[in-house]
Amino acid sequence: MSLLRMRLPELRDRLARGELRVADLVDASLRRIRETEEKIGAFLLVDEEGARREAERLDSLPADAPRGPLFGLPAGIKDNMVTEGLVTTCASRFLANYRPIYDATAVRKLKDAQAVTVGKLNMDEFAMGSSTENSAFKLTRNPWDTERVPGGSSGGSAAAVAAGQVLFALGSDTGGSIRQPAAYCGVVGLKPTYGRVSRYGLVAFASSLDQIGPITRNVEDAAYVLQAIAGHDPLDSTSAAVDVPDYPSALTGDVKGLRIAVPREYMGEGIDPRVKARVLEALKKFESLGATVEEVSMPHTDYAVATYYILASSEASSNLARFDGVRYGVRAEGVENLAELYLRSRSEGFGPEVKRRIMLGTYALSSGYYDAYYKKAQKVRTLIKRDFDRVFETFDVIAGPTAPTPAFRIGEKIGDPLTMYLNDICTIPVSLAGAPAISVPCGLADGLPVGLQIIGKPFDEATVLRAAHAYEQATEHHRLQPAL
């Protein structure tokens, strides 16, 4: 257990120097999964054999062969990133048998860095949800309180890291799906700038918003993982040809003079007073470290959730048209013709939330409603983005809560989609603006973790990481662990 609590760079160096065998570390991870998985349910697939084989291969490399930056470190992958030869389901019955023939770019980059994939992590079906309750296969529980949700949609990724089952995980974030589960599970979750990490091989939900990022136990680890996966990819034409700086070296611990904006809309009505109290304490800590904190207004914040649900659902309805039962996935049995094959395969393959969003998106894009909903939402997205542009003219980062409440109870919101959607009120505006943001633990509310969100200028993950790291080093919150 203690091995799995060490910092990534420290473990990596011990492994690279041969002081510790990769096989032993992978064993520790697999053992921890066996011990805790019945309670947590983070994994859809544990590739014990593949992980052991890779560990053995890494251990038997010649002593003078170069060691990768994530050499030998056990990782989990959210199940919407394709992994060659490893079933990738998106937590959907539609893809229950889908065995990809290639790796997502982010997955390949982890392999190039010599991390070891130990398995695929649970999520809301097609990443649509905020609690991981929309998985077609299993429930994932919050390690801090197993009667509560881990958040979502990357709930398996956050729970696995919080439970110490893997050293880090990859998640994906469309409207908060990395940051919110990280906040609920008391770990660090970073959504990079849109375009910073290739989406090649990430099963598309909303293509103008989706972004892959790390979920880790501390900010330094997040910097190392981001370093490994960031960068332009010719296979994703929306990945940005922007230089990738050295993230670990940005972690100076110094935030003197850092200008922090706190939007009053992020701290208003609807934010649990316990969450607000933790965030205010965090802002005080920043001031004590030499940063300046100032209240600002981002007047279009209140329109972000409505904008998001039109745009994300519209994009989803178009993206998910590819699931037709012809080339991959589960095909309905006993159909008479092609039209029936489409209809029945989709109806049997998709769960209720996915159907609901396809319906909403199809409606918003349908003849007669396109201008009133889709076009309108695109225009409001411009206004929301302008709010960010304006604040970033005079501030370095924006801070506030990651989620309005701590983790809610399993089953509490599943019957009311709109209440569930409003849970993403703090993370969605950032996604619409394409900006990078991190969630870091900032204490507990009645025993449940609270996340502080730090938002940066597009492509300025370095400042986000620097601010988060300085805060983390000045506090003890990230050392807290769930009693499992």
Binding site: Y102, P352, Q378
Partner: protein
């Protein structure tokens, strides 16, 4: 915005989804509630505001039109629910 079961049936057909009567009722209520919430966007004057379809200033990404290796056919067909002679097999399109 009220959504009727008939609206739901129309949209479901466009989306190639077959819904049970229970699902139709449920979606009519839920989609209506979601759309009513979304109508708050009409409080904003967006005349003359450019729509944002994408946050990055990228338009067309071009490359030279050079042939490159692609996946072998047997790999591509590996996940096919049904196949024949190197092709995806589907039931009759026309009766």
């Amino acid at each position: 915005m009220d959504i009727t079961v008939r609206d739901v049936e129309h949209v479901a057909l466009l989306a190639r989804l077959e819904l049970s009567d229970r699902e139709k009722e449920l979606f009519a209520g839920q989609l209506g509630a979601i759309l009513r919430y979304i109508e708050k966007l009409n409080e904003l004057d967006t005349d003359g505001v450019e729509p944002t379809s994408h946050v990055l200033p990228i338009s067309n990404v071009m490359r030279d039109d050079e042939p490159r290796p692609s996946w072998p056919l047997d790999k591509v067909l590996e996940n096919a629910p049904d196949k024949e002679d190197g092709q995806f097999k589907v039931p009759a399109v026309l009766e």
